[in-house]
């Protein structure tokens, strides 16, 4: 039997790993080429590390929320089309807005993300609502919005050459403008985690059991999906679509913790998300930048994450658990 003590240990070890990584990478990169650096470069590097850690955590949380509330281990904001929808409206806003105003772009991202999310849910539910129905419906919705976004990106690139980075998901455009938004998102997610993790646990047993364990399943599913959808959409507004972190992190958390209990899975998935995004971003901007140029981190997370998704899919069809 896996005890609570063991799970708290896993949490502590994951947290320590993240802290060590932040310390080592932060120390190394902040000091690299120190003699010739301006304070702006220092600042940029600091924000980049911070945003990588925070965004990874946000994606870990939102992935866990989406998987638990939909009882579907195959989804994250990318698979459900939230990323695609949010990016489309972000591009639309960038086209018409004279400069980057985070809150307007965030609201636009949320509107697009929700449109795509509800479209995916409506189509998936109309074809039976199985976990695979969600994946297929999400792929369709995602493809539609991605097509529109790619088209818009050609128009925008003349005005804002960095906008193209959002298409593949990159932390290259981070700035302190987004700092408050990210802090608020983290606060909302940690607070909602305390309120939602127990109801989400009951949702895994189905709506009937959730009700008779004292929770209104519709209310809590709505809250979890809304918070997750909005948070993931806002990450798209500042760093584009970073896929698979939200999908993979909860699974790694469940494997480490040996449980599906969301009280433990959600925070550990957040920490795992931070670790994964920090590492892949560093691979992208340090190791690859010196050889083939700075590859968008979203490309790397897809390259690493998609095989993981395929393994899940195969195991799902062979009827095996995780």
């Amino acid at each position: 039997m896996v005890s609570t003590k063991y799970r708290l240990w896993v949490f502590t070890i994951t947290l320590t790993t993240l802290a060590i990584l932040v310390f080592v990478l932060g120390n190394y990169f902040l000091s690299q080429g120190a003699s010739s650096l301006t304070s702006r470069v220092y600042e940029y590097r600091f924000y980049r590390i911070f945003i990588a850690v925070a965004t990874g955590m946000i994606l870990g949380f939102t992935g866990s929320y989406m998987q638990a509330s939909l009882r579907n281990p195959l989804v994250d904001h990318y698979i459900l089309g939230v990323g695609g929808g949010a990016l489309f409206t972000v591009y639309l806003t960038v086209m018409f807005l004279p400069k980057t105003i985070p809150w307007i772009i965030s609201l636009a991202a949320i509107a697009g993300g929700f449109t795509a999310l509800f479209l995916t849910i409506a189509i998936a539910e109309s074809i039976g609502g199985s976990d695979i129905a969600y994946v297929l419906s999400g792929i369709g919705v995602s493809a539609m919005f991605s097509g529109l976004s790619i088209t818009l990106s050609f128009i925008i690139s003349t005005k804002n050459p960095y906008a193209i980075h959002l298409l593949l998901g990159s932390l290259i455009t981070v700035s302190r403008k987004w700092f408050p938004a990210v802090i608020v998102l983290l606060a909302i997610l940690w607070f909602s985690y305390i309120l939602l993790s127990k109801p989400l646990n009951t949702l895994l047993l189905g709506d009937l059991y959730s009700k008779q364990l004292g929770f209104n399943p519709r209310l809590y599913r709505f809250l979890a999906i809304t918070i997750a959808g909005a948070s993931a959409s806002i990450t798209v507004a500042y760093c584009g679509i970073i896929g698979f972190i939200g999908l993979v992190s909860p699974h790694i958390a469940r494997l480490l913790l040996k449980t599906v209990d969301n009280r433990f899975v959600i925070p550990v998935a957040g920490l795992v998300g931070s670790i994964l995004l920090l590492l892949t971003d560093n691979i992208s901007r340090v190791y690859l930048a010196s050889s083939i140029g700075e590859v968008p981190v979203g490309a790397l997370t897809s390259a690493f994450g998609a095989p993981f998704f395929l393994v899940l899919l195969v195991r799902r069809f062979r009827g095996r658990g995780l």
């Binding site: 039997m1 976990d131 009951t202 009937l208 008779q212 364990l213 004292g214 449980t259």
Partner: protein
């Protein structure tokens, strides 16, 4: 400690009337079995009593009208069990499911010592020691039925509503679940539904026979079942009811 329903109606979308004007009282310390053919409204009645489906009319539990209370209020007094639809990917272990079943009465974010004590006691009483680390989706029907009953008991409710606790069970499994239900009947109000009349006469004190959303017969198990004319009519099968060693046996004669 009673459950009282007055003028209870359950109407589903599309106008299907599942329960059509039922007045009934379930008393403390009594096991009541609801029987009747498929579509008679047994499960809908049970779900309405637990406020799991919308209903018209009144349901009082301990004097409180159920529809005005939040789910959490009802969950503290009453457990309802039915088939569990557990996904193979995101499945709890038996022990986790038992702890989770205490959410309505357990206040903190993490489990308290008392939560563990109660769950350990129930595991011991129902002999689930070998199952505690197994996942719910890996259990056999018989094992799952015992675990579901344990989950229902975990929050120490005054009321137990069991929807077909004997479904998918072989003879031995039915006998075992019947003994378990009897063991926990004192001091509690237990209402169950079943398709198996033999299981009913061995398990319950009172029987309620439903057909087309209405109660057509109710009474002490021996008296009601002996009135086999009603049963023969609603099931459309000849029934032999015989007493042996003070126990009633029900034998359906499929071919007349």
């Amino acid at each position: 400690m009673t459950i009282k329903a007055m003028g209870l109606r359950v109407v589903y979308k599309g106008g299907v009337v599942a329960v059509n004007g039922v007045d009934i009282v379930f008393r403390k310390g009594v096991v009541t079995g609801i029987v009747g053919p498929n579509g008679a409204g047994k499960t809908s009645l049970l779900k309405a009593l637990a406020r799991l489906v919308p209903y018209q009319g009144l349901v009082y539990i301990d004097g409180y009208e159920v529809s005005r209370r939040p789910y959490s209020f009802i969950a503290r007094m009453l457990s309802y069990t039915s088939d569990l639809d557990t996904p193979s990917f995101l499945s709890y272990t038996v022990y986790e499911a038992l702890l989770l079943s205490r959410y309505p009465v357990s206040r903190g974010f993490l489990e308290s010592r008392r939560d563990y004590e109660v769950v350990d006691r129930i595991v011991g009483e129902l002999g689930l020691e070998k199952l505690v680390d197994r996942r719910l989706n890996e259990l056999s029907s018989g094992e799952l039925r015992r675990v579901l009953f344990a989950m229902a008991l975990a929050r120490e409710p005054d009321y137990l509503l069991l929807d077909e606790p004997d479904s998918h069970l072989d003879l031995g499994g039915k006998a075992e679940i019947s003994r378990i239900i009897r063991r926990y009947s004192s001091g509690r109000t237990i209402v169950l539904t079943t398709h198996d009349l033999l299981f009913a006469v061995n398990t319950v004190d009172y029987v309620v026979v439903m057909d087309s959303g209405r109660v057509v017969l109710a009474g002490k198990v021996g008296e009601a079942i002996v009135n086999k004319g009603v049963l023969e009519k609603i099931y459309g099968v000849k029934i032999e009811a015989v007493w042996r060693n003070g126990r009633l046996l029900i034998i359906p004669l499929y071919h007349g």
